[in-house]
């Protein structure tokens, strides 16, 4: 198991669900990256490194990837991890449950807070990611 892949899995797990990934999740993640042939360009590698720094930066990198690098490695890896987490009992008990209160108002409030956090994260990350993406183009990561 590559230490950077393990660290990446742990960081993305904390980002998605605020929980620690156990050995089964980490092993599945590594296997998934290999089996799906997820490869990184230099820019993808940068996005992934950014996503492992803090949950806030992970959100910014993820949102950037959603719109400006949708087929990129970070997006693919995060989706892969989400699929693993929802298939595995100890983490699926989070994904299969609705967080917080019932009703339209709590939903609207929660969505607004998430929206603010996402907006702030994107504002912080996009200004330096855009030129970097142009600079690094599609060069393969070492």
């Amino acid at each position: 198991m590559s230490p950077s892949l393990r660290a990446e899995c742990q960081a993305l797990c904390r980002y998605l669900l605020s929980v620690e990934a156990d050995d089964y999740v980490v092993r599945s993640y590594e296997l998934g990256v290999e089996r799906l042939g997820i490869e990184s360009t230099r820019f993808d590698a940068l996005l992934c490194r950014l996503a492992t720094r803090t949950t806030f930066l992970a959100r910014g990198a993820d949102l950037y990837g959603r719109f400006l690098r949708p087929g990129g490695a970070l997006r693919k890896k995060t989706v892969l991890l989400l699929a693993i987490l929802e298939s595995y009992g100890p983490t699926a008990r989070h994904t299969d449950r609705s967080p917080g209160a019932v009703g339209l108002l709590p939903f609207a409030l929660g969505a607004s807070l998430h929206g603010l956090a996402s907006g702030a994260a994107l504002l912080l990350t996009a200004p330096f990611l855009l030129p970097l993406q142009a600079l690094l183009r599609d060069g393969k990561a070492p």
Binding site: Y15, L16, L17, Y24, S28, L31, G32, R35, L36, T55, A58, R59, D62, L63, R66, F67, P70, G71, R75, K76, T78, V79, L80, L82, A83, I84, E86, S87, Y88, G89, P90, A92, T95, D96, R97, S98, P99, G100, A101, V102, G103, L104, P106, F107, G110, A111, H114, G115, A117, S118, A121
Partner: protein
């Protein structure tokens, strides 16, 4: 009585075989016959599987993670789970050349219906207008099949479009979301019917009580999509298992039938097949041949046979398929609730939308989201995945999907032909053009549906309606139509689905349909195939 050779182990082939055996014929059924694995831990529900399995990720996502929906795949909101990959496992055969159509094939035991959702809606007289029989004539076969496979439903507002017949058991229990939708419909019935929308319980081939065959009732384990663990949801391979216990039935797997050979009088003498694994070929003599491999493979066998016999490559016009549109919806009143995993996974409700021509009725299947993987929905949202996950978790119990189905007619502009190659390697040519005015028809139906959803307390998120490519519904039909017309050409079948060109050849699948209603056709495939069996040797 004859030896009847059947090609194909889908619903048509198996129910033709079943009936033929009952009438005293001997039956040999030729099939490729890919098989799946038995459902693991059958006594455990969907949620508990995630804890009880040694490798839940391997089960839910597949050994190669083929169950993970990739961001750039352009795929839909749900995918066939890895446990049903065998249904679509290919064989080594030249891929068809298709324009305007994305054909799907199955070489599995049970055929494509191994991955069906059980919808069993008989055609009514308006829909059977172009067929050489009425509802009353095919009704006994519908009832016989319903008794054989087990069915549940209700006598409700859908009955105006879907005739009620014998052997329909009590309807399945509704989950909370479906119950709310139906309650809103009942409270606003007049308003909804005023716009031509009528809702009722789904008619499905799923048991709500124990079946005489020993199959148990639905245990509401939520495992439907991954494969019913106790046989409550009918799949044709259950019939194959039963037939194999009969001494007059011979199942011949690993046989890809390529064409048949007929004598100068047009009587089929033998079938020519290849073992798709080993590549070895062979021939088997036949007395009576029934093609039931599915409309496209059956058409391919027929065309290859004509080509081998005469060198001709006719173009068989009239290919049909149901256009489908996926309409996600959200019921705000369910936001924040937990979904119930211990429930029936597939559609519990259906809605019929009236059309000016009753045969053009639009058929809508309502599925409320329960036991399913949510990452495909999360990645479709214009959000970062953390936010998307939060939204989907909050909205899971409030989400649903309407699968809207439209009828199709035979047209000269949609056809199937054969592209012959060197050294005898032919490939199917499929060309499909949508009917003129389709966009208007679909638009009008969707406007009515959205109004209906609003009346039911639901909303359609903007930008998420998906028009499925033609070929997706896998309800192929129309290339060898059954007709009693005096000027019917050689490449048609008569009222008994017997070929006009080959006297001992019958076609028991959708290739013979002269019209394709919007309803799922599998139940009618089974009923008509049973009817065809009674015509053999008549």
């Amino acid at each position: 009585m004859s030896v009847v050779t059947v090609v194909g182990s889908g619903p048509s082939g198996l129910h033709c075989a079943r009936k033929a055996l009952e009438l005293g014929h001997r039956v040999r059924l030729f099939d490729v016959g890919h098989r799946g694995e038995p459902a693991p831990l059958p006594e455990v529900g969907w949620k508990a599987l995630k804890n009880e399995l040694d490798d839940p990720v391997g089960y839910f996502l597949g050994e190669d993670f083929q169950g993970v929906m990739q961001p750039d795949s352009g795929a839909e909101y749900y995918a066939i789970p890895p446990s049903k990959d065998y249904v679509f496992r290919p064989v080594d055969t030249p891929a068809p050349v298709a324009e305007g159509f994305a054909p799907l094939f199955s070489w599995a035991q049970g055929g494509l219906a191994q991955a069906w959702t059980g919808g069993s809606y008989p055609f009514n007289d308006d829909e059977l207008r172009d067929f050489p029989f009425s509802y009353e004539e095919i009704r006994p076969f519908y009832e016989e099949v319903a008794a054989d496979i087990g069915m549940s439903g209700s006598d409700d507002d859908l009955a105006r479009f879907v005739p009620l017949h014998d052997h329909v058991g009590q309807a399945l229990d509704l989950d909370e979301h479906a119950a709310r939708l139906l309650a809103r419909y009942e409270a606003r019935r007049e308003r909804l019917q005023g716009i031509g929308c009528h809702m009722g319980r789904s008619r499905v081939a799923t048991l709500t009580e124990e079946h005489p065959s020993g199959r148990g009732a639905c245990s509401y384990s939520g495992r439907c999509l991954w494969g019913c663990a106790n046989g409550a949801l009918y799949v044709p391979s259950l019939t194959l298992e039963q037939l194999r216990s009969q001494s007059s039935f011979e199942y011949v797997p690993s046989r890809l039938v390529q064409h048949f050979e007929a004598d100068d009088d047009g009587r089929v003498q033998r079938i020519v097949w290849r073992d798709p694994e080993t590549g070895l070929g062979g021939r088997d003599d036949v007395e009576v041949l029934v093609l039931a491999a599915g409309a496209l493979p059956t058409t391919g066998i027929y065309l290859e046979s004509v080509f081998q016999r005469s060198g001709e490559t006719p173009r068989l016009e009239g290919l049909m398929d149901n256009r489908q549109v996926l309409v996600p919806f959200l019921s705000p009143g369910m936001l924040g609730r937990d979904f119930d995993p211990d429930s029936y996974q597939y559609n519990l409700l259906a809605m019929g939308i009236e059309a000016e021509d009753a045969a053009e009725y639009v058929h809508c299947l309502f599925t409320t989201l329960k036991s399913t993987l949510i990452h495909p929905v999360a990645l479709s949202l214009p959000l970062d995945l953390k936010t998307a996950l939060w939204v989907v978790r909050k909205a899971h119990a409030a989400l649903g999907l309407v699968n809207v189905n439209f009828a199709d007619h035979r047209r000269a502009s949609s056809w199937v032909g054969l592209q012959t190659g060197d050294r005898g390697a032919s490939r199917l040519q499929v060309h499909y053009e949508p009917p003129a005015g389709e966009a208007g028809k679909v638009g009008a139906a969707l406007r009515k549906l959205k109004k209906a959803l609003r009346a039911l307390g639901a909303m359609v998120p903007p930008g998420m309606v998906r028009l499925r490519p033609m070929g997706s519904s896998v309800h192929y039909a129309g290339t060898l139509p059954m007709t009693i017309a005096a000027d019917a050409g050689p490449h048609t079948t008569d009222a008994d689905c017997r070929s006009r060109q080959f006297g001992n050849l019958y076609v028991a699948d959708g290739a013979t349909y002269p019209f394709l209603p919007a309803k799922n056709l599998t139940f009618t495939l089974m009923a008509n195939a049973s009817r065809v069996a009674t015509r053999i040797d008549r």
